[in-house]
């Protein structure tokens, strides 16, 4: 049988991913995570000397800490299975990627195992995050120089 013909049969019989359903689930889970983050930020603004701008740092740290606990107790993968991108895109998804890789490679020791593999999944997030921030800053700098927008 030809590969093309098989690909056609396979496509016909395989279940289609429910995109609309996944998008709604991702919206709900991602939205809930951000809502929790907003409450934590408000907590830091109200009870500590943080402004809206400076509160983002302790908020991110707290969200990652919560994600770390959820990952360790095996709950985050269940949230992610339900929420998909909604659980992967917020900072908690990044925390989950780092912590899960650390747990996985603990058996190989702390230096080569945990240290060497911690950013196995999250490394590309850091690389492309920094790179895209650089590109955006470059574009904005040029636009400001030409007077199109202001800072």
């Amino acid at each position: 049988m030809q590969q093309e013909k098989y690909a056609q049969i396979e496509k016909e019989l395989s279940p289609k991913p429910p995109i609309m359903k996944n998008v709604i689930k991702a919206f709900l889970i991602g939205g809930s995570i951000c809502l929790i983050g907003q409450f934590i930020a408000l907590f830091y603004i109200t009870y500590f000397d943080f402004t809206e701008r400076t509160a983002s740092n302790p908020t991110v740290a707290t969200m990652i800490f919560i994600a770390m606990l959820l990952t360790g107790f095996g709950l985050y993968k269940k949230i992610a299975q339900f929420g998909g991108a909604g659980a992967a895109v917020p900072i908690t998804g990044f925390g989950n990627a780092v912590v899960s890789a650390s747990i996985e490679h603990k058996s190989e020791g702390y230096v080569l195992g945990v240290g060497g593999n911690m950013f196995k999944l999250a490394g590309s997030v850091i690389l492309f995050g920094v790179f895209s921030a650089f590109v955006v800053a470059l574009i904005k700098t040029i636009l400001v120089k030409f007077g199109v927008v202001s800072w």
Binding site: I45, F50, E52, R53, A55
Partner: protein, 130 residues
């Protein structure tokens, strides 16, 4: 359960932020009317708490939801206008809700004992970058 969640959702949408207007506490001989004029003439401002104390003018503002993206520019504009109106005062205008919250706390305080210390503190955290 479904009905309850819909009702909660509608209530949440309706209640949002309902406080509006300009609240000014003036402990100085300066006239506070031009502050009110400047703030009320800006269509983006929803709520403002202003405190005039000794040589300080402290204003915390909240802008309309969809103006939040340019709230820094709005605060800067108001600051410039107020500086023109009150050349003798040190003007601090911020759209950060922390400043609004702290200014409100100061306004509601009965004694003016710790005002100097508190105002310095608010101005210092307002300047913090990270």
């Amino acid at each position: 359960m479904k009905k309850l969640s819909i009702i909660l959702l509608i209530l949440g949408l309706l209640t949002g932020c309902s406080e509006k207007g300009t609240y000014i506490k003036n402990t100085t001989p300066y006239d506070e009317h031009s502050v009110e004029n400047v703030l009320m003439s800006n269509e983006h401002v929803k709520l403002a708490k202003v405190l005039l104390y000794e040589d300080e003018l402290l204003a915390g503002i909240r802008v309309n939801t969809f103006s939040r993206f340019k709230k820094k520019a709005i605060a800067n504009k108001i600051q410039k206008k107020l500086e023109r109106e009150y050349p003798d005062l040190k003007v601090t205008v911020s759209a950060d809700s922390k400043i609004l919250l702290e200014t409100e706390k100061l306004i509601n305080k009965k004694s003016e004992k710790n005002y100097r210390k508190k105002i310095d503190k608010i101005k210092s955290i307002e300047k913090e970058q990270t």
